[in-house]
């Protein structure tokens, strides 16, 4: 793998794009898009991060191993977030059946006698 020397004008072009995207994300925050505000903001952030990673960090010209490393880290982070969110968001989905009550809500004045 030959060490890649990028032309300087590429860096300036990417820099310009990053500035434009920053301005864009800031201004869009003042527009009412409902729940899409967050989606758009994150999408722009992903674009900016990709520009930095691919061009400033030379990922575009690096060996496949580096890209696998980055993708693996992002994927693993996604695992952590997804499964944790999976717990948090489904906590109250189960509706108790057959008169089951959460122990925290049971009155403790009438405990059953121990066997």
């Amino acid at each position: 793998m030959v060490e890649h020397i990028a032309p300087k004008r590429m860096y300036f072009f990417v820099f310009g794009s990053l500035l434009v995207l920053t301005l864009l994300t800031w201004r869009i925050a003042y527009v009412d898009l409902g729940p899409w505000n967050t989606v758009v903001a994150l999408a722009i952030a992903v674009c900016k991060a990709s520009l930095v990673a691919l061009f400033f960090m030379h990922l575009r010209w690096s060996g496949s191993m580096m890209r696998i490393v980055v993708c693996a880290a992002i994927f693993w982070l996604a695992i952590m977030m997804t499964l944790t969110l999976g717990d948090i968001l489904t906590r109250n989905l189960v509706s108790p059946s057959h008169g089951w009550q959460s122990p925290a809500t049971v009155s403790h004045t009438a405990l059953p006698a121990s066997p």
């Binding site: 499964l83 999976g86 717990d87 906590r91 989905l93």
Partner: protein, 544 residues
């Protein structure tokens, strides 16, 4: 397979132990072999501390009312036992000692990719260890090695900060080691050494390193958050602010479950080497074993919620984690089947390393199967936080990982020291360890099933007999651990010279002298054949 000049006697050669003398030559070394030995001394030192805590715990449990210590002190004992054994013995044991020593040798390299970072990792490890020992001496921690909130953040007044900081710092040692190993294995293999010609120990170490890299940072940030909550009262786990203590458990176990695979995978790698070498037979199912190591590392990251079935975690999440936990057992089972198939029709000899390997297979199987019980939601409801869990993980970590570690230490001892240890004593010690281990921990399965909670300083009288048996077993086990310390140290001076390949095993590490020269090989080896080519070796020995 070995060249003539490696047969010279130890004293007349320059090797990594005598190339330089003096404390500076050790403390400033960048030689991976010396760093491995420094780790060996360090983890043995920490093992003694963790072992003393265990002795005191088991002595206390001789009586239902607690024989020795107050419950508050008992809480500190099991916490320190867990913290020291997990973070300062088990996790570094095989990677930092055997991994550091062997990986460059097994791939035909002169050293790891980043020798100075390797040395740094040892200093970082020792810094973390000393800080944790300070926490012990200053009065200990009573939160358990699991540091659950809000006990650790709001209610306890023990030295949580120091212990958490110690573990945090030691975590960076794991990260540096993992980084070093991955780059070394990717970039520094000898000519001809393709991925599927690598010894299975390397595959196991590679999988372990993936876990180091992706998991350790999460516990680092989690412990940092505990520190911040204790010190600055910025409480993201504080229910008063809407924080969720279970979030701590998610973040903690996201690392700590893969951590247990860090503890077992290298040991499985060792066992693959031992079973093959002492059956004089090519390992059965090489590709299956190699891929199963990667599978265990990967799936191991998906199961952490099985520690939280009764914590208040959502039932749906519990279902998912339970199913995934069953899945992670499959690659482990694949290994056990392949090892067994390797033994079949092999030319088996029962030197100490093989005894440890065989013990590993049996005890790990028991530990692993009991893990399936625990992965079952309905059963875990009853045995969570009982001695059933304690027995399960000790079967895997002690019956499995530690036996694999001891087997590896014995197997590669001739390479490390240039000397043979007395195998008679070693076999006796191995059997004592096996017997003592089972006496200690099998009763604990029964105790747990009958309902004895873990982390309790006292217990109902009906559990008395089983606890006494367990403590008796622990004393036998402790004796068993002391014996190798004695004869291995003795052998360094008085053991007969080993020569390059006393076991007639395959592998690049056995082609160079014992102890190896500072740069491992006189000239870089070129690999032309498959690993574990014992059939070829047998022909050569017959011809010779």
């Amino acid at each position: 397979m070995s060249s003539p000049e490696v047969e010279l006697p130890i004293e007349s050669r320059v090797h990594y132990l005598n190339v330089d003398y003096g404390i500076k030559s050790w403390l400033l070394t960048t030689d991976h072999k010396r760093i491995g030995l420094m780790y060996l001394v360090s983890i043995t030192f920490f093992f003694c501390f963790g072992g003393v805590a265990a002795i005191l715990m088991r002595l206390n449990l001789l009586e239902p009312q607690g024989l020795l210590v107050e419950p508050e002190t008992y809480n500190k004992l099991f916490s320190m036992h867990g913290i020291i054994m997990v973070f300062f013995f088990m996790i570094p044991s095989i990677p930092a000692v055997l991994g550091n020593f062997l990986i460059p040798m097994m791939i035909g390299a002169r050293d790891v990719a980043f020798p100075r970072l390797n040395l740094l990792s040892w200093y970082v490890f020792m810094t973390g260890g000393m800080l944790t020992l300070y926490a012990v001496i200053a009065g200990g921690v009573d939160t358990g090695w699991t540091f659950y909130t809000p006990l650790s953040t709001a209610y306890t007044n023990t030295h949580v900060m120091a212990a958490a900081a110690g573990v945090f710092i030691a975590g960076f040692s794991s990260i540096l080691t993992g980084m070093n190993f991955v780059v070394t294995i990717h970039k520094m293999r000898a000519p001809g050494l393709s991925w599927f010609r690598l010894p299975l120990f390397i595959w196991a170490m590679y999988a372990t390193s993936i876990i180091f890299i992706l998991g350790t940072p999460v516990i680092a940030i989690t412990l940092a958050l505990i520190g911040l909550e204790r010190w600055f009262h910025v409480g993201i786990f504080d229910p008063a602010l809407g924080g969720d203590p279970i979030l701590f458990q998610h973040m903690f176990w996201f690392y700590s479950h893969p951590a247990v695979y860090v503890m077992i995978l290298p040991s499985m790698g060792v066992v693959s080497e031992l079973i093959s070498a002492f059956s004089k037979k090519k390992i059965f199912g090489y590709h299956f074993i190699a891929f199963s190591s990667i599978a265990i590392a990967a799936i191991g990251f998906l199961v952490w919620g099985h520690h939280m079935f009764v914590s208040g975690q959502s039932l749906y999440a519990g279902l998912v984690f339970s199913a995934l936990s069953f899945a992670v057992a499959i690659p482990s089972a694949v290994k056990v089947f392949n090892w067994t198939a390797t033994l079949y029709k092999g030319s088996i000899s029962y030197e100490a390393p093989m005894l440890y390997a065989l013990g590993f297979i049996g005890l790990f199987t028991i530990g692993g199967l009991t893990g399936l019980y625990l992965a079952t939601l309905a059963i875990d409801q009853h045995v969570h936080d009982t001695y059933f869990v304690v027995a399960h993980f000790h079967y895997i970590m002690v019956g499995g990982a530690v036996m694999g570690y001891l087997g590896g230490i014995h197997y590669w001892w001739p390479k490390i020291s240039g000397r043979l240890y007395p195998d008679g004593w070693a076999r006796v010690a191995a059997i004592i360890i096996f017997v003592g281990f089972n006496l200690t921990f099998f009763p604990q399965f029964i105790l747990g099933y009958l309902g004895m909670p873990r982390r309790y300083a006292v217990y109902p009288p009906e559990f008395h007999t089983l606890n006494v048996i367990s403590t008796a077993g622990a004393s036998i086990l402790g004796l068993g651990y002391i014996i190798p310390l004695i004869y291995l140290t003795w052998s360094m001076r008085y053991g007969p010279e080993a020569g390059p390949n006393p076991w007639h095993a395959t592998g690049l590490e056995w082609t160079t002298a014992s102890p190896p020269p500072p740069h491992n090989f006189e000239e870089t080896p070129v690999v032309t054949e498959e690993p574990y080519s014992y059939d070829r070796l047998a022909e050569e020995i017959q011809v010779a």
